[in-house]
């Protein structure tokens, strides 16, 4: 049977375009956000917000936070054990308790810290897995 390609094209061209659109969408959907960002969205963004701005004087910002500049791997202790004492960030006193997260592994905490230190215009140096482990060892002694 001889195929009349002209007819096939006349009838079928929208299908070709549709396939093209679907292909492009599925390829762009394959881009995975970095591990640090995923962890941030899952564990931190509900309070500190996706844009890192926090909420009023209730929840401190992470974007351009002076506290982050003054600390590095010891941020790990805050992430794991939370914070129960008032702290000052960018001149505002925050005294709302921050819950810790005992389930995050040192590797995950490292990804998180490095995401936070590089996001939203924060241009802070990365910390290493070894540094995070050492920090967690030191604060686990005091937190028991």
């Amino acid at each position: 049977m001889k195929v009349n390609w002209k007819q096939v094209l006349a009838f079928g061209w929208p299908v070709v375009i549709l396939i093209g659109i679907l292909a492009v969408r599925s390829i762009s959907g394959l881009r995975q956000p970095a591990a640090g960002e995923t962890l941030y969205v899952r564990h931190c963004a509900s309070c500190h917000m996706e844009d890192g701005k926090g909420l009023g004087a209730l929840i401190p910002p992470l974007a351009q936070a002076d506290w982050l500049k003054a600390h590095n791997a010891d941020i790990a202790c805050l992430i794991r054990y939370g914070n129960q004492i008032p702290m000052e960030v960018n001149g505002v006193l925050y005294d709302q308790e921050m819950p810790g997260n005992q389930l995050l592994s040192p590797a995950e905490i490292t990804y998180l810290i490095n995401y936070i230190r590089q996001a939203w215009g924060n241009d802070l140096s990365e910390v290493s897995y070894q540094q995070v482990n050492m920090a967690l060892d030191s604060c686990s002694n005091s937190e028991g």
Binding site: K6, P14, I17, C47, M49, L55, A57
Partner: protein, 218 residues
Amino acid sequence: MKEMLRFVFIGWLGLLVWGCSGGGENGPSSEPLPILGNSTLTPEGGEIPHQVDPFQVWDQDSNQVSLASFDGKIFVADFFFTRCPSICPKMSEQMLRLHDTFFEEGQVGLISFSIDPPRDSVPQLRAYTDKLVPASKHSRIETDKWHLVTAEAGHILEIAPSFLVNAVEDEEAQGGYLHDGSFILVDKKRRIRGYYDGTKPDNVDELIVDIKRLLREG
């Protein structure tokens, strides 16, 4: 043959354009908002629409607040608690957005019910409200516009179902309470006209549109 091909071409093109424009989707309409909840049928064959339960609560300035406080107003309600580590910050952020958007609109009120009265005393609510002020576009949070309220233990958990929300004590939940992030839109007759996810800004965009529609209803 050429006529047939042209016909087919136009036919498909039409289909494509219609499909890409979201085919058949309703745009913002001038239809009234629905009335949500189960209505009660009367023996005479009438229907009483669902209404939210009456309540007696105290706000961040120790004012007693009830449905009468919203006479002649529509209002948006949510259920939260100040120590909630999960969905509440986003809900408060969006409630603040409603406070700022409708700051001048006297017919719109807001009420945030604390589901943790044992720990959310009036002073605690006052402190929480004060801490939100830096995030507001105004220099204050107008108590008469947005009441953050507490009550006798159990009262708020009792009235929550009439707002069609879940709020229960749950030891295993974060913070000790299981609740959802719904914002409930209530009209002047105390009927529920809309239900939105207060943790999602685009849902609250819709709520803002619906508040304006409801205000036009009079």
